[in-house]
């Protein structure tokens, strides 16, 4: 691994992170996949969001999100209620089971984060976030 190690390093990170989350959550047993996790977390932190908010936030195809939502509804993790503001859309919220899952996700995430931070000082963590954010901002300049 020579000069391109920044991206290699980060991709290795993402791979390991996903794996850790998946095994930590026992995701396959729960029938959870990556986008489920993302969506449940998003719905939890955005009370009264619509499917379209998810589409925009994650920049995904709306067909994909529609099916994901349908799936989460049949799993009884999420319910739809009419949106009084706009009769084309419905608001999504978590059922009790959905909330239970969301807190399981949060807990797992916190364990994984704990593990990630081993052997690192507070200063290093601080540096890491700051530097990564700088890099992301640099890239976004390029992409916009």
């Amino acid at each position: 691994m020579h000069d391109n190690s920044i991206s290699d390093t980060v991709f290795a990170f993402v791979h390991s992170y996903r794996l850790a989350m998946r095994t930590g959550l026992n995701a396959s047993e729960l029938g959870l996949n990556y986008m489920h996790v993302k969506c449940l977390t998003f719905i939890e932190s955005n009370k009264a969001c619509a499917a379209n908010d998810i589409v925009n936030f994650f920049a995904r195809d709306k067909a994909q999100i529609a099916r994901l939502v349908k799936d989460m509804i049949t799993n009884a993790w999420v319910i739809k209620t009419d949106n009084p503001e706009d009769r084309r859309s419905q608001l999504l919220s978590l059922t009790d089971e959905g909330k239970r899952l969301a807190s399981l996700i949060a807990e797992t995430q916190s364990n994984v984060h704990q593990q990630m931070q081993k052997n690192l000082t507070d200063q290093e963590l601080e540096d890491f976030k700051r530097i990564t954010n700088t890099i992301v901002n640099n890239l976004n300049d390029l992409n916009s």
Copy 2:
């Protein structure tokens, strides 16, 4: 994004990076996908590697890599030659066209990396790689 956790930061990084590479490369026009780019780069920097090296390095399913390699061979980016050390495996190397692609990738990558490194000192880049590697090792401890 609320607590701006480490993982959010890193996912944002990956998203921006992929986008920058894809548009920079005009990847879809060239028929290149994400794993093609990864593999071509890997083969270029690891003279005389086998499919299995790719499998191990990227921790992917060997069926996936086998098909990817087959694909790159039919695209005439890569050729296989017998491995004198082990008659089960064959060594992969780039054709001229493969080399052309690899250098196009390298150039794009270098532009993107240049952009990423703006506003960062050498020391910060050093820190970034070191810290990220520590985190990856931590996660791998968890996964193994």
